[in-house]
Symmetry: C2
Subunit: 365 residues, 2 copies
Amino acid sequence: MSLSDSSGRPAAALAFVLRGEHVESSHSGSIAVVSEDGTLLWQAGDPERLTYLRSAAKPFQLNPFVSRGGALRYGFSPADLALAAASHGGEPSHTSRALSMLQKGGFSESDLHCGAHPPLFEAAAADLIRRGEAPTQLHNNCSGKHAAMLLGCQMLGFPATGYHEPDHPYQRIVIDFVSRATGTESSRLSLAVDGCSVPVFRMPLRNLALGYGRLFGSGTPRETESEALARAKIAAAMAAHPEMVAGTSRFTTRIMQAFEGKLLAKEGADGVYGVSVAPELAGHMTNGKALGIALKIEDGGERCRDLIVVSLLRLLGLVPERLISRVEELAPRDVRNVRGDRVGEMRPAIALQGPVPMAARQSPA
Amino acid sequence: MSLSDSSGRPAAALAFVLRGEHVESSHSGSIAVVSEDGTLLWQAGDPERLTYLRSAAKPFQLNPFVSRGGALRYGFSPADLALAAASHGGEPSHTSRALSMLQKGGFSESDLHCGAHPPLFEAAAADLIRRGEAPTQLHNNCSGKHAAMLLGCQMLGFPATGYHEPDHPYQRIVIDFVSRATGTESSRLSLAVDGCSVPVFRMPLRNLALGYGRLFGSGTPRETESEALARAKIAAAMAAHPEMVAGTSRFTTRIMQAFEGKLLAKEGADGVYGVSVAPELAGHMTNGKALGIALKIEDGGERCRDLIVVSLLRLLGLVPERLISRVEELAPRDVRNVRGDRVGEMRPAIALQGPVPMAARQSPA
């Protein structure tokens, strides 16, 4: 790596993929574990790595819509809010909800600018093929986010046209909020274009972790009262409706279900992951505060991502005893051949550095 | 990485994925460029990296069938031979040919042990879904290889049952040949199970490169005359039928078509690639011998693989002037959003080390 404006620490090994007894491939990356007050508690690789948040930014991108009264004005249910913070699977339950959200403002599918891609949930994608139907923009995993952005523009009197452009007044409000929510100085924040055409945020990984810590936190500097209420409302909606945040069979949905409201999780494309842990679970590490975790897998590959997240939560002592086996099952380690026989294993290899050395690395054979 | 029995050199940066002006992700790995006489000419990362060849072994795995007379006995056409060395797309032209190969020995689809997976070629996979049909073992990208193995067992009087097992007499013959063809000492060769259930070979990357160099070469130590004839016959079949070696829209097929018989290419799963370059193109680097190239992308991800191969061929001066634009077009650099707009770029970053330093690295922004 040569990320000239990061700290320059190299990525660290995070997981190995073994075939038989030997390593076939490996994945490296960076991790930041941050208390909601901004204290960097644990790290691996480069916690300052300048990272495009991708869809891990969605809980923050949604705040301006809620804080300015959009959820009340348009009668959003918690499930609607969860879908507006989602990378959903394009299942019928997601697309019908996204459409109903658009219709609350008189919008239709064609007002979206996210583009159409096949549903992330394979069975939904196959259903479309069977019916001879092309995917629509409602199937885009970001359609809920875009629906809220369109309604937000309408509510604030901004034009819907060009709502995705970085200089559109609605996106300026979103950019300002994301910057504050993650505590990112403007000199450390830059923008590019996300897969769904809206601005994507690049910032140090520890700032993404801080934003996640604050999701379940008690307060954020420079946050208004309505923003704080919106933050709590979004967190509660995600916790109550994990099936809307991702979907059937998806790790993000299942790990939130397992933690029963004490943990929020959100993936971003290209190997990004954000986790917010409630004070009730994390307080022993944080003096009673919420905790945020951010992960970037250097190569953007996701086959070991869930295993890395589970391994990290366990290393940090955040998985209650009664949940350990259920949580481990969410990230299967087996590498299987086409016939389904076990031919190898994914093995986590996270070596956290922090206030006390935590030598938890599992070395490969 | 901690591959305890490799040289211990770290993987090197091979490509960056930029979004906007900045690096989003990166891919590292290792490269070995070897003359057919075994001279290591150029390297990146760790040319000794112990690497599972995966399907890059197929041209070698096929040799025993041909050298023992199987191609003549069963009337294999060059296209049949190419399919037996292929990771094909599961297109109708592939599955019908694999079935006809099986039938030459009275075998059927159910004799295969490769397992069934959806066709690699997306349009063929969608066609199956539309017709409500499940994929069969003929659609497995390895079905041609397995057909030749079954026929080889029949020809040599071995049982077809268990033909995929590492201690089956046919696999022992294959293992012996792959070891010799790549010049791999037994202490440096190990086996595991491939995705298609047959033995997979693990060896230093430079030995894979050597095997590829010898594909177009004039002779291999400890090779019998019939093995040499078989080697030439397999190479000629792959060169003549690139559409059988991979398939529609596939890089491997298209780059072989572009080089009009002077270059063989074969992918293996998990970021492996092998290339054989005829003396006519490579002779200026090799004193008139053939050249072999082997690549392993450390994370197994393949989004930058084609670009890395093209960049490497150009760095080595192996792309004739008249082919440069055609070859560059085979590995598009653009990163696009769902709507198809250009939002970033893949950028090769190969720094070859060799007899003369070749500083060809393109650093990211």
